[in-house]
């Protein structure tokens, strides 16, 4: 699985837009980019997934440039409840035998009032 690099932590204030960038320089052709969110004492929860360009859902947007060597998770108008750890993962969606996910350290987002 492609290695990812993302900031260890970020601070923001309520109402601001937060952008978390993930680097994945050796992403493979068949790899997808997936972001998970984890609150304390809970398991990770899927946020968004994409392959290229832009994906948007009710929670976030994911921007992927043409070379796909990085991606940016955008959270619009964050609230205190968005305080969590955000994980960027890259992996081959076709992989069988488990579609193993390799989690890095994630980005700890702290939203302040």
């Amino acid at each position: 699985l492609a290695k990812t690099t993302q900031p260890i932590s970020m601070d923001s204030y309520e109402g601001q837009e937060v952008n978390i960038t993930c680097s994945h320089n050796n992403i493979a052709t068949n790899d997808y980019i997936t972001w998970y969110q984890q609150f304390p004492s809970q398991g990770p929860r899927f946020i968004i997934q994409g392959y290229k360009t832009k994906v948007t859902n009710e929670v976030a947007s994911l921007f992927i440039p043409a070379d796909r060597k990085s991606s940016t998770l955008s959270l619009p108008r964050v609230s205190l409840s968005d305080t969590a750890v955000y994980y960027c993962l890259v992996g081959d969606s076709r992989a069988n035998a488990g579609n193993m996910l390799t989690f890095g350290g994630g980005t700890r987002l702290m939203v302040k009032p």
Partner: protein, 114 residues
């Protein structure tokens, strides 16, 4: 609401005890996984199973075993618990060949070995 259920949120066990962590999913998923999560180390894969009675080692299988007798249930076994196995244990499930978003995690079991 589909879910992955882990039998205990908190467990305290003594060194040397045999410990069973149970995980049940109601989504008819073929794949099931056990991770442990430790501060500064992120989530690390212990074992996974892609079918009943099938199992594969993950990154850190030492000291653990697993059992998958039924599709919906995946058990993690600590044969002889040690203090370095104190951790948060997370179970997940997914469909085969699916995009990674197919992972659904349980709420975790925080195990303390004393």
């Amino acid at each position: 609401d589909v879910k992955v259920t882990q039998s205990s949120r908190y467990l305290v066990k003594r060194t040397g005890e045999k410990v069973f962590l149970e995980c049940v999913q109601d989504m008819d998923h073929e794949n099931m996984f056990w991770y442990r999560q430790d501060p500064g180390l992120g989530l690390r894969l212990i074992y996974f199973s892609y079918d009943v009675k099938m199992k594969e080692k993950g990154d850190i299988p030492e000291g653990y075993s697993v059992s998958r007798e039924k599709k919906e249930r995946f058990s993690l076994i600590l044969e002889s618990a040690s203090t370095n196995q104190t951790s948060m244990y997370l179970c997940a499930s997914s469909l085969p060949g699916q995009n990674n978003y197919g992972y659904t995690f349980g709420s975790g079991t925080r195990l303390t070995v004393v």
